[in-house]
């Protein structure tokens, strides 16, 4: 069941600079969200990833999307039909 996913997100939260993490399916249904990331953003993350994949339709793997701001970066990536986003302070 979802314990594995939950544990994965908990482990991810432990990483350096990680402030929040969210996992959604490709329709934008939120599986789980932790930390600073709001549950309601699952849809936007999924559609950002869908749009990005259209940039290079022939590519086999989805690109990484990054929204950078002074308050940290939001990294987004889809693997198969699961999209994950991590809110993280940059590490230099």
């Amino acid at each position: 069941m979802e314990q594995n996913l939950d544990k994965l997100l908990d482990d991810t939260m432990e990483g350096p600079g990680v402030m929040g993490v969210i996992c959604a399916d490709k329709q934008g249904l939120c599986y789980s969200a932790k930390g600073t990331v709001s549950v309601g953003s699952a849809g936007i993350i999924a559609s950002l990833s869908q749009q990005a994949a259209l940039l290079v339709p022939e590519s086999s793997s989805a690109p990484v999307i990054c929204l950078e701001s002074d308050k940290g970066n939001v990294l987004i990536k889809t693997h198969q039909d699961v999209t994950i986003a991590i809110h993280k302070m940059p590490t230099y």
Partner: protein
């Protein structure tokens, strides 16, 4: 319609092309790989609107500085300045992390 003005975009390092769009997504200037690339312009414009309208985290509403889309060998970097969208396509040259 006035042009985008001096922007120095052709001096961005490792660049393969750039696009400058107005606030409705029309191409105002372009070069290299992205010359008149309206399809790419439309997709990135859509992404910028998505990213700027919804807060992914409670505190970074509408304030992202850059949107990057990173593929294996190149990346798109987009930013907004005075109602124009600047998009640069750069070669992806992974820099080895200093601390492993």
């Amino acid at each position: 319609m006035s042009g985008p003005g001096p922007h120095n975009l052709d001096k961005v390092p490792n660049q393969e092309g750039y696009l400058i769009l107005n606030d409705s997504g029309a191409v105002m200037a372009s070069s290299g790989d992205l010359e008149n690339d309206e399809a790419t312009a439309a997709i990135i414009m859509k992404m910028i609107r998505l990213a700027s309208k919804v807060n992914i985290t409670p505190d970074n509403s509408q304030s992202f500085k850059r949107l990057s889309v990173i593929f294996d060998d190149f990346l798109y970097i987009a930013t907004i300045s005075s109602d124009k969208v600047y998009i640069s396509k750069r070669k992806n040259i992974p820099k080895e992390p200093v601390m492993a």
